[in-house]
Amino acid sequence: MADGEIQNTAFWQGNTALAHGALAAGCNFFGGYPITPSTEIAETMAEELPKTGGKFIQMEDEIAGLACVLGASIAGAKALTATSGPGFSLKQENLGFAYLAEIPAVVVDVMRGGPSTGLPTRAAQQDIMQARWGTHGDYAPICYAPSSVQECYDLAIKAFNMAERFRQPVLIMSDEIVGHMREKITKTEPDKLKLIERVRPTCEPEEFTPYEADPMTSVPPMASFGDGYLWHVTGLMTNDWGFPTGNPPEVEKKILRIINKVTRARNDIVEYEAEHMDGAGIVVVSYGSVARSALRAVRDARKKGIPVGHFRPITIWPFPDAELVKMSLGVKTILVPELNCGQISLEVERAIRGRSEVRGLSLVNGKLFKPSDILKVIEEVA
């Protein structure tokens, strides 16, 4: 084995891999507040960031954690914060600010059981709808759900790219199992990294209109504080030059633009993985840690001759609905095992519109599905 190969692999926890993925993407700022099961991300950043000249700050709460991340991003940083359910609830206020004011940042929620303090050390997927609708108002989230340690690393890089490209916060909804399990991963070599940086204005400072979007992308170029452009950032609805407005056409233009910039690029964003779909009469849809058990169950069922496939959304938002529909035409039953009381199963129902029977499987006792739990249901419906 060549030396390079050894250097480019690591045996890491999901949380550690996620932090290193962020660093590989050029993250140079972290602000946050400790909370199980996400703390290793903050701890890794506290250790690694100053080595690269980046900054780490432990704030007084999660609200401040995201606030300082957004402040740093406005000053030009690529910034990260990480938390779990109780902290994710606190971050909703400033997430809304970031959607409206169009500030790039990556926000990680390593999900644990809730509501409230709930089950601090056990896995859940109960925040997945909060990722979609958590802060008030209308917006279009981009949200990933990793199901392996390698994916924690890779999706951290991708999340930064998407945050920079679309000028908005991007969410990574990991979970306690993915965050804490250890696997061997391959790091991306620096010269192989494909990094996207926010588009910056090229006009003269006097001509800068901070929210005038590129018509091809609907994303306005973003200046950084300190680089010569004077501009106003606000959580109020504004017109193109940042002036607060209540004028209906201006309001509508802005709100539709911040949604359309994502929906028009949907096909570039949406990711999924489909396996064993050939001839499948049953499809299991699962994501995050659950996908690991589900895929095993699907393989076991195939060995027994049951034609069952597996569909794993990697982007939870936007949801790969059209792709799922296309791949499950003629499928009798879709099973949706989740560590919640049926959140994504609602989304699958919405996509499938009665074309197949959709059956949710809920597990909310803090444990992960065993492959045999899922296999049993596959056999029942086969």
Partner: protein, 275 residues
């Protein structure tokens, strides 16, 4: 009408402003702009953060790098700006409610960290923007829409709060002394560390209407009469200081500044890498 230099710092395009005519907030804005001009500040390297409230709208009217955040959170945003780019001058504008109610936690921690930000708290003893509800600085017995029988909870002394939490510069003055507002803001900006300037101002529309200070001038006179310089207050018995506004620089000390401390963290981490 302000003169040429001050005018160049104003976003006249954002005007008319939302403030009621006669609101004390404009006096603070003018003093702040004079201070920035006096210190020869560059607009492209000056950041004004603010929260939510009438006072916080100030940021939008200034032609600089301005950041109008969420209610109470501006200091946390400003901390991110300053830590990422310590070379920028960062000023944070808050109302009394913004700073000491919803933003109280961020306020004490910014003081404790002693990060080089100048916080200007425009204290009008009320929530002006939302129509005159009581704030953490509404005096006991005062009338507000949410204290229809008179306020009963004890108010904060913002300067004592800032001092106790560790700020390296703490001063109070009132809009009845605009020169002093300007001087204290200048001193605060020049201080390497977290500076708090409480400017007692008025909301004649909401607070004044309910508390016998209906006209801007009533408030101005009231502040003039109640102001006592710190040097004089030191020799006065507590009974005589009842209801007075002690004005002056309460704290002006050298404390290790946060972004400089963090630079040392970077040095240590990088030195360990070389070993």
């Amino acid at each position: 009408m302000p003169g040429g230099k001050v005018l160049s710092w104003l976003r006249t395009r954002f005007m008319p402003h939302i403030w009621c005519s006669g609101c004390g907030h404009g006096i603070v804005m003018h003093a702040l702009l004079r201070a920035l001009i006096g210190l020869n500040k560059d607009k492209t390297r000056t950041v004004l953060a603010s929260g939510i409230g009438c006072s916080s709208r100030l940021a939008g009217y200034v032609n600089a790098c301005t950041l109008h955040t969420t209610h109470g959170r501006s200091l946390a945003f400003a901390t991110g700006v300053k830590l990422h780019k310590p070379e920028l001058t960062v000023i944070d504008i808050m109302g009394d409610g913004d700073c000491s109610a919803i933003g109280g936690n961020h306020f004490i921690h910014a003081c404790r960290r002693n990060i080089d930000i100048t916080a200007i708290v425009m204290n009008n003893n009320i929530y002006g923007m939302t129509g005159g509800q009581s704030s953490p600085t509404t005096p006991v017995g005062a009338w507000a829409t949410t204290t229809p029988y008179g306020a009963v909870d004890q108010p904060f002394d913002l300067c004592k709060l800032a001092e106790g939490a560790g700020a390296s510069y703490v001063a109070r003055t009132t809009i009845a002394n605009p020169r002093q507002v300007e001087t204290f803001i200048m001193n605060g900006i020049q201080k390497k560390g977290f500076a708090v300037i409480e400017v007692v101002t008025h909301c004649h529309t909401q607070y004044g209407r309910k508390n016998d200070r209906r006209l801007p001038f009533d408030n101005y006179n009231c502040f003039k009469e109640a102001s006592v310089p710190l040097t004089k207050a030191r020799d006065m018995p507590p009974e005589e200081l009842e209801g007075k506004l002690v004005c002056g620089e309460f704290v002006n000390k050298e404390v290790l500044e946060y972004t400089e401390q963090y630079d040392k963290v970077i040095e240590k981490a990088q030195a360990a890498l070389k070993e």
